[in-house]
Subunit: 290 residues, 2 copies
């Protein structure tokens, strides 16, 4: 059963005509202290993101890499392990917080999970986690989108009370496919056109520009004119914290340098997933932990 | 007849095994004064490129654009006009120095052609010119290569005594597909593997990563480790002057902002084209003026 039948949908999407509405919910929620000073929290509330250097050290990065090697060797063929079609090398591993206790303990640190609790004003849990090993030369782009739009439509996340943390395992340079964000775009919600097909994640995860869940070019252009585009670079070990409703994209990578990261989404405990708001069935647990 | 049969080939390429050799010829040639101070010339000699703001003004940019509109309307279907397969909009126009007197007169200015004369120490002529109107959202990447490698192999350019000037008609930002260069790479010549097929330009101009005339990934990675990568950004009207043997590439553009430029290659008069060094036949004049 579709969520919309039982619950008011404050963020309608996958509709006939795209609309831009104001966000109805706060970005930063009161109630929890945490490691960030007030100025940092205010910056996050205004821009929708904040980058911090040195959240992981070299030993952490080695540990994450060796855990990924161990996990993929242990699992064998598994839907959580995405491999390159060309040479079979590992491109992404999903649900790493469940597959590796060591990675789970890194994620649980105060400067990672603690920041999420502070920003969301609630207990948090890992909605999704993955390690991406975007290779040099061949890393494809990923088109403009709001993660919350997808999680709302396809996973039944009621409100944008979730935050993502992207932990760099390699440097993010201006030319190896680092993230582009529209600062402030998280304060608007852009609905997307079209009806979500069945089993859509099998297609959307492979496409650089999925046909549903991506705003139209005219809307992206208008939002970019209003909010601008900022490219987020940083050293290995740096962290990018960003609100789940930021419009963001990443360019392709034709540099020789890979761009790898540990990506974790924290959802507020009170923002429990229900049935999808704009899809017929739930996505697998490794994409949306319940 | 193949040039190699009559003339010693100092830059062998399209061979069985890739090699990196030192450049045998100067980058900057003595004998001509010009608008650049010595420090600027030295910078160019060392890095292989130099960027200058404000070489074109807003009126020049409007004039180039209106000339392109007039030329494409006048020509109709023409091999010099490359259109998007999707919507038929103009992507590139070649030989604009022949098609438009106004564009030719801009190119002839001292701060454009005069710089080329100064750097090359000789009279110069336009080897190739084009206007690129790389659209937003859909602009593809272009893989690492040395222009001289192609012009030597396919156009019979004897030595790397040529300089390119890319004049920005729109801003070049870090995320709309601006040029990436390996500073200093122009002092090495990287031979490429393979034999050039017949009529190869029909394929190579359409491919983001042509199979011939592009160095192998291991070579690109080694050159990047040695020379680094610099991304060249600048305002509308800025000029990038770069040596014909620089290794360079451009990323794709998924921003809403187009990246358009007027691109001109000046060859030294004494560096006259002969028969191709590594191809069976000459390319059309609009790709290599003789």
């Amino acid at each position: 059963m579709n969520h919309a039948a039982t619950l008011t949908d404050h963020y309608p999407t996958r509709v006939d005509t795209s609309e831009i509405q104001d966000r109805r919910d706060p970005v930063v929620w009161p109630g929890r202290s945490g490691p960030w000073p007030d100025g940092a929290v205010d910056h996050f509330a205004t821009h929708g993101f904040r980058a911090v250097e040195g959240v992981l050290d070299a030993g952490d990065i080695r540990e994450v890499r060796s855990e990924i090697d161990a996990v993929t060797a242990r699992l064998g063929p598994d839907e959580r392990v995405i491999r390159e079609t060309s040479d079979g090398s590992v491109r992404s591993v999903f649900a790493v917080h469940e597959l590796s206790e060591r990675i789970a303990s890194i994620i649980a640190r105060d400067e990672i999970a603690g920041v999420a609790r502070q920003l969301l004003g609630d207990e948090v849990y890992v909605h999704q986690s993955r390690v991406n090993l975007k290779p040099g030369f061949a890393g494809g782009p990923f088109y403009w989108h709001s993660d919350f739009e997808t999680w709302h439509a396809e996973d039944g996340m009621p409100t944008p009370r979730a935050v993502s943390v992207s932990l760099a395992l390699t440097p993010n340079t201006p030319f190896n496919g680092s993230l582009m964000i529209m600062p402030g775009s998280h304060r608007r919600f852009v609905s997307c056109v079209g009806r979500t097909p069945g089993e859509y994640h099998r297609q959307s995860l492979k496409s650089y520009r999925p046909p549903f869940g991506t705003p139209e070019e005219s809307v992206i252009a208008a939002m970019a004119d209003e909010y601008g585009i900022e490219q987020v670079t940083g050293g290995a070990g740096s962290a990018l914290y960003f609100d789940c409703n930021c419009l963001h994209a990443s360019a392709g990578n034709i540099s020789p340098y890979p761009r790898s990261n540990l990506f974790v989404v924290f959802n507020a405990a009170s923002n429990e997933l229900g049935e999808p708001f704009a899809a017929d069935a739930r996505r697998p647990d490794y994409l949306a932990t319940r």
